[in-house]
Symmetry: C2
Subunit: 298 residues, 2 copies
């Protein structure tokens, strides 16, 4: 077989024992995807006791561990994936700093600058490369985890030093084998792009739902059509995930909110001016066509 064939088949798992901290939608889907791809990889989960018991019973993980700190002293871990909310991931990363041997750590959090900065202060035994799979589903939690969640979706890595090349290549191989499409950005580039393509849509969706609900109440909502439902779908997202994201990316999110409010102010001033309103709406439709043609999500 050629080198290209061997790479596309990934016959050998790049890691033999993988720990996943946080078995929610993303962590749980990662476990399922690994299990589907390589039957013999050992998967160690860290989460609440009841979640671990459920995950072991359903054969999603091999065994549980009591905490991230406990992973630091485990003899067999090749990779730790932090899949808790953003600020908890940073706390777990610090717990791993006492590792008794070299450890490769990545995360799947929605913002990267905070955790990449925290990783700089750790000892040389930890190699940390930030990661972010761009994947999600309408419902959170292990119950909604799916082995194919990452298929054909981007998985961004944000390496922070040149010395991480070998580890980065290992992680790229790993997520490619799970069906994802690896990409590399700096942590700051990542956080700015996500402020626009992910965090701004969340805030817009919630603000729209709040404004409409508070102005017209349930009787007005009963007169709405599918357009409001589509545009406010994200407003159901749990606040517990979003407060960490907003806090850890506040500067970029503020920039994105300001750009949006400037665009809203522009159309507010042109409601009575059809040529200007047409140009404004047409530019939006052109970008929407770009979005549709460049992604697999419509």
């Amino acid at each position: 077989v050629s080198a290209a064939d061997a790479e596309s088949d990934f016959p050998l798992a790049p890691f033999r024992t993988i720990a996943i901290v946080g078995l929610g939608l993303i962590g749980g889907s990662l476990a399922l995807a690994i299990r589907e791809r390589w039957r013999d990889v050992t998967i160690v989960g860290v989460d609440r006791g009841d979640v671990l018991a459920d995950a072991v019973a359903r054969q999603i993980i091999t065994r549980g561990a009591p905490s991230a700190a406990a992973l630091a002293t485990a003899a067999d871990i090749d990779l730790v994936v932090l899949a808790a909310p953003v600020l908890q991931n940073i706390a777990c990363l610090r717990d791993l700093a006492s590792a008794s041997r070299p450890l490769l750590v990545t995360d799947v959090g929605s913002t990267k600058q905070g955790i990449v900065t925290a990783a700089r202060d750790l000892g040389s035994r930890i190699t940390f490369i930030g990661g972010h799979p761009i994947a999600g589903a309408a419902h959170a939690g292990l119950a909604h985890a799916r082995a194919d969640l990452f298929r054909h979706r981007p998985w961004i890595f944000t390496p922070s030093s040149k010395g991480d090349e070998a580890a980065l290549q290992q992680l790229r191989t790993f997520v490619s084998a799970l069906g994802a499409e690896p990409a590399v950005l700096t942590a700051d580039e990542h956080d700015r792009v996500m402020a626009y393509v992910s965090h701004l849509p969340q805030l817009v969706s919630s603000a729209l739902m709040r404004s409409v609900g508070n102005a017209v109440g349930a009787p007005g909502l009963a007169l709405s059509g599918p357009g409001l439902a589509d545009t406010t779908r994200l407003a159901s997202s749990p606040a517990s995930i979003w407060t960490d994201i907003l806090q850890s990316n506040a500067a970029h999110v503020r920039e994105a909110l300001d750009a949006l409010m400037a665009d809203l102010q522009a159309i507010r001033d042109q409601l009575d001016a059809p040529p200007a309103a047409t140009a404004w709406l047409d530019e939006a439709a052109r970008w929407r066509a770009h979005l549709r043609n460049g992604t697999r999500i419509d």
Copy 2:
């Protein structure tokens, strides 16, 4: 059979000959719904020649007429439904004012105050009752028309004088027979509610798509997930429909935009304050649950 059974069966068409001005998604779907419900109703269409030829060939309408003005002199029309863009509907309504005999006219436009005001200046031969079916689809035009577009959807009427009771009852019976759920509001109430539940989502969706596209470009859009796609779906809507709506409802839309911008400014000031951000996000999630439970669109 009981009176209730007779009403739910609508064995007799309330109108024998119905003219529909504008055979787009709504006008075309109305023709299909009438045709499905009562085979023997005559449907007269007004649109461009090629659209009429297509609609006759596909047996969606019985015959074409060259203009709204031509309907004013037709001997057999019982009901005229104006289904062109909002400002064209007002022009067509004025063309009907020279009717040689009493004529019942309604419309399906997205704003009501303008056309209801215009109707006051017409002669006593025209009975006008504004209407608005809350129905839509991802794609516009006769090619996407569907007989079931109005089923289980609200159809709002905005009668302007007490003397229209009999005509209003006839229209309610008519749209109920097509599967819609008639409701009655004043034109001003209708326009304010629609500014929030329909016009604001359109502007928010377009503004979000513009802001994101202009900030991160096509490479950034390629890193987006389904959340951005959902929230910007409306941004594909044709500007030609929306400029009329925005112009004819500018005051209410401005009020709605101001409410939204105040909500966005509130979260902008609280990105670093998790308890306040949680309360803000939770209120949105509560309204979204109301929307989901009170409508059939999720």
